[in-house]
Structure formats: C-alpha cells, structure tokens
C-alpha cells in the first residue's frame, strides 16, 4: 500500500468511491452504501498504515502528474497531515456505518446521492489535508464546501435556507482565501507551501504578505466558524439531518482549522508570529468560547445546543493557534482529535434519539431515554463529561495543554476563560444529563413525534459506532501522552 503514490491514495479513493457509487446506486440501492463503506474503510486503513510508516520513515512527497514542485502540485504526507486524515476518515467511517438506519428514517429517497455527496465531502477534506499547494487547497476546500452545502440541504424542511446561508458565507470565505492566495502569489511567485515559506523571509517588505495572511485568516476563519464568523453554523447543524450533522460537525470545521494551522505555521512561520494577527485570533477565540458556551445554555434543542458548543470548542483550537507556542500547537492539534471524537459521539447519540423518539428537543426529555437506551445514554454521559473536562477523559487533557500554554504566555485572563468555559459546559450538559437520568416520566407528558413502536436501544449499526467513539473518548484521554509524544511533537513546526 505504501507505494510512491501513497499521498494521493486517500483523496483519490474517496473521489473514485463518490463517482462510482452513483451509477451503482441507481442500479441497486444498497450498492451505494457498500461502496461508501468500502471507500471510507479503505481510507481509514490507509491512513493508519501511512501514519505508522511516516512516523518511522519520514515524510513523503508526491508530485501530481510527475511535474516537480514548485511548478507542479505537490502532496505532502507528514505526521500531522496523516494524523488529521486518520481522524477525518475514522470519524467518516464510523458515521457511514451509522448512516444506514438513520437515513432510512430521515431521508429514505435520497440515500444514494447522499452517500455520494458524503464521500465527496470526505474526499474534499482529505485532499485539503494532504495537499502541499495553496491553490489546490482552495480547490479541495470548495469541493468539501459544496458537498457540505448539499449535506445540510438534505435535512428537514428549513434546511435549504440554512444551506443557502451557509453557501453564501462559505463562498465569501473561500473567495477571501482565494484573494489571499493571489496576493501571496503576486508577492512570492509561487503557490507551493514549502516554496513560499522559503521565499517569504527574503522579501524586502511584508505589506503584501500581511494582507494575504489577513485575507486567508478571514477566509479560513469563516470556514472553521471562528467567532464572529460563525453565524452560519447553528442553523446549518440544526436543520441538517442527523447523519448530515454527524458528518459535518466533527470534521468540517476541524480541517479548516488544520488548513489555518498549515498556513499560519507552515507557510508564514516566523513572519506570522511577528504580526499582531495572533492577538486578534486569541481575542476572537476567547469571544467564541464565551459566546458559544453562553448561547448553548439557552437552547432547547439538543442539536442547536451542540452546534453552539462546537463554536466554543473551535475557539479552543483558535486559541491554541493564536498563542503560537509549542504547547499551544499541541493543545490545538490534540483538541482537533478530541473534539472530533467527542462531537461525533454526541451527534450520533442525538441522531439515535431522533431515530427512536422522533425529536431532539431537550424539553420533553426524561428518564425514559435512559431506560430505553442505557448504552446510548452512557456514551452521551462519557462524551459530556469529556466536554466538561473531567479526567481521565480526553477533554481534560486538551484543557491541560491549553492552560499550560496560556500560563507560559503569562496571560491570566485566558486561563480564567478556559476554567470558566469548563463550568459553563457543565451547566448545559448537566441540564441534559439530569433530564436523561433523573427526570421522572409523568403519565400525561408525551414525547412528540411519531410514536416509536419499539422504543428500545438503538439498532446495532447505530449503537456500535456510538460505543466505539464513546470508548475512544476515554482511551484517547488515557493515551494522550503517547499521542503527543509519538505524533504531535514531531509535527511542531520549527521556529516556534
């Protein structure tokens, strides 16, 4: 598997899967799902094997079409890229396994194109991660985004409006990014990330690259829902179908954050640290953390609450990036992994609740949930505790690294914000947990929606991914030192 073509293997296989699944699906419906499973499963295995190989043998570079960089497009498989790709494909595979029953219930006539679009989405994301060329990043960014708009639109009645709003803002963001790439090209004459990094310090003055960086930060910030560019997110995640939001939420914004990291640390490097953009990122992230947590407390719908919670969590990653220190980098990258797994668990659970009970509203929740679905509730509890930041789950360690980074930067308000956000998370998660476990079901209250004929535990194809991800939250927490030492520390960019 690790031939010379490995760096393009994952995006290509997912793209092929997307293309193939449509005619096969039109011929026989169940085949599209089979293709999706094969493609995502193959990608996970490839990502895992690749990560192990790269950790031992060093990074791999691949030139598309044989054209050497900096003229040609280059794909780079280094530890950080493969780590993020592993997260993306892993979560993608889990959600694909989960999707069968959920799609049957929520959008039965759409499932063939849905699978294809989901594969396109994952292909776009993995392409974004693996590429080493700035314009290629734009191309895959748009592939992923267009697929994301479609995923959102295949939801409930109001979804197309939310999808359109997402489209408008997303396209503005991508256009900003494109403009930024253009400026950078004008300044340096190259589009290859490594090449630009080498050329930038040689420039006489930084006016043009500064503007380019600003534009790229705004563009990618829009895609990753950094405050105040997050306004598309709540509606999009809420109105999307359960599977749609399960695909989007854990990985969509994270890959944009990864792209921001690549641009910030990998392309601009020391040039960026000297500019005041880092401080702006920190301020925006802090505002996002606080606003996201506070808004989440006010929500009555589980998915909307989780959406605002995502805004807050992206703030953590932005904080890690903005601090521009090794600990901040570690915290941000680890949080990419942690949040992907935690959010995936949470959204899959909310999808399971919708499947069995027909609604994701918090108000009518009571302990019928726990009695009917004990394992699902347990997975939700573990993920919730992790979001709050209780050891030894994964969320605690993200906060540990970020707190260390803030302390090293001697910034007390930032530490206070991290502490405060844990407590705010506790408020809105315990609101749901209390209802799930403690609130007695009264006879007159009925949960709205189609009466579930068999309100038992979620079906196995939905339950197993939930349990695996929930267990993963715990295991990643325990193994976090291993992950940091073996993978993330190798990826810390030089000059930090």
């Amino acid at each position: 598997m690790i031939g010379e073509h490995f760096p393009v293997l994952i995006p290509v296989s997912l793209l092929v899967g997307a293309v193939v699944s449509v005619p096969l699906g039109l011929w026989r419906g169940s085949l599209s799902r089979l293709v999706a499973l094969l493609a995502t499963g193959f990608s996970v295995v490839a990502a895992g094997v690749g990560l192990r190989h790269v950790l031992r043998a060093g990074e791999m570079r691949y030139s598309l079409g044989g054209w050497p960089p900096p003229i040609g497009i280059e794909y780079v498989a280094d530890p950080l890229a493969l780590f993020v790709v592993l997260v993306v494909t892993g979560v993608g595979f889990a959600v694909t396994v989960y999707s069968k029953r959920s799609l049957e219930r929520e959008s039965p006539q759409n499932h063939v194109p849905f699978n294809a679009v989901a594969l396109l989405f994952l292909a776009g994301l993995s392409g974004m991660v693996m590429t080493g060329d700035l314009f290629n990043l734009y191309v895959f960014l748009e592939i992923a985004s267009l697929a994301a708009y479609a995923l959102v639109a295949a939801g409930e009645k109001r979804a197309p409006v939310a999808a359109f709003r997402y489209l408008v803002l997303g396209t503005v963001g991508a256009s900003c990014y494109l403009l930024g790439v253009g400026f950078l090209y004008l300044a340096t004459g190259s589009l290859n990330m490594a090449d630009v990094r080498a050329i930038l310090p040689l420039l006489p003055h930084y006016r043009l690259p500064f503007i380019a960086l600003c534009l790229m930060v705004i563009g990618l910030g829009l895609k990753m829902a950094l405050f105040p560019l997050h306004v598309w997110l709540p509606d999009a995640y809420t109105y999307a179908s359960s599977v749609g939001s399960a695909y989007l939420a854990p990985v969509g914004t994270k890959v944009a954050a990864y792209a921001l990291m690549r641009v910030w640390f990998g392309v601009f490097g020391p040039v960026a640290y000297a500019l005041p953009i880092g401080a702006m990122l920190v301020v925006a992230s802090v505002a996002g953390i606080l606003v996201g947590s506070i808004m989440a407390m006010a929500q009555n719908d589980l998915k909307r609450m989780l959406a605002y919670s995502s805004v807050a969590q992206v703030g953590y990653i932005g904080l890690g990036i903005g601090l521009a220190s090794p600990l901040g980098f570690i915290g941000a990258v680890l949080h990419i992994l942690n949040h992907a797994v935690m959010k995936a668990t949470l959204f899959l659970v909310s999808g399971a609740l919708a499947y069995r009970f027909g609604t994701t509203s918090i108000l009518p929740m009571d302990d019928r949930l726990r009695r009917a679905m004990p394992w699902t509730s347990a997975a939700f509890a573990v993920a919730a505790l992790s979001m709050i930041g209780l050891p030894p789950t994964a969320g605690f360690f993200s906060k540990w690294y970020l707190a260390l980074a803030c302390l090293k930067a001697e910034s007390w308000p930032l530490v206070a914000v991290i502490a405060l956000s844990s407590l705010l998370n506790a408020v809105y998660f315990f609101r749901v947990l209390e209802r799930m476990y403690l609130r007695k079901a009264s006879a007159e209250e009925r949960i709205p929606g189609p009466p579930a004929s068999n309100p038992g535990e979620a079906p196995p194809s939905m339950l197993i991914p939930i349990l695996i991800l929930g267990l993963g939250v715990l295991l990643i927490g325990l193994a976090n030192a291993w992950i940091v030492e073996k993978v993330i520390k190798l990826a810390i960019p030089s000059g930090l």
Partner: protein, 124 residues
C-alpha cells in the same frame, strides 16, 4: 504621475475593488435571495478578473506560442499560470452557482418566496 498613467497602472485594480464592493454590497443590501446569489457570482468574477489582470505584462501577447515570434522568451507572453488557476476557479464558481440555484429552487418550492423577510416569517 499623470491621470492616464495612473489609470493605465492602477485603474484596473480600482475597477476590481468596485466590483468586489458591488458584490458584497449586493449580498448585504438585497433582500431577495436570488439577487444575493447573483451578487455572489459578481464577487467571484471580480476575484477571477483580479488574477487575470495580475498576469499582464507590458507589450506582451496572449500565452499561446506564436511561431512568428521566434524562440520563446518569457517577457513576450503574459503569465499563463493565473489563467490556468482561474479556469479552475471559474469551474468552482459555476458549480457554486449551480448549487445555489438548486437550493433556491428547493426553498421556493417549499416556502413559495425568495424574499428574506417573508421567508423568515414562513419559516417560523
């Protein structure tokens, strides 16, 4: 520098800025979603024009090899790279417009209007 020199040098960029502003302004000020979609296209076209414009060189011709010019010298042809990039960007823009229009068709089918105010009312 004189006005003609200024226009020759920078006028194009100001035009592009104007187009971008029209695009963004349309997004913000128009309440009809279809007009927003059109403004989006204008924005994207402006950026495409920017790239194309950045490729120009003085006294150079289109980047197609002309046998009459003799041996290939780079300063005789304008920079082809931004042009190729923009081919991709145009495709992306078309795809985005397609998705946008499909979404708007779906919105119209479900809610019967594309005006923002009425749409928000009907969505409630």
């Amino acid at each position: 520098m004189s006005l003609s020199e200024f226009l020759a040098g920078y006028g194009a960029y100001y035009l592009i800025i104007g187009l971008i502003l029209i695009g963004i302004g349309g997004l913000l000020l128009k309440s009809n979603y279809f007009k927003k979609a059109i403004s989006l296209t204008i924005l994207q076209s402006a950026i495409i024009l920017f790239y194309v414009m950045s490729a120009t060189k003085r006294d150079a011709t289109v980047p197609v090899i002309d046998a009459g010019l003799g041996a290939i010298q780079p300063e005789q042809y304008i920079n082809p790279l931004p042009h190729t990039l923009m081919l991709t960007a145009i495709v992306v823009s078309v795809a985005t417009s397609g998705v946008a229009i499909a979404l708007l068709m779906l919105v119209y089918r479900r809610f019967g209007t594309l005006e923002e105010g009425e749409l928000l009312e009907r969505m409630r």
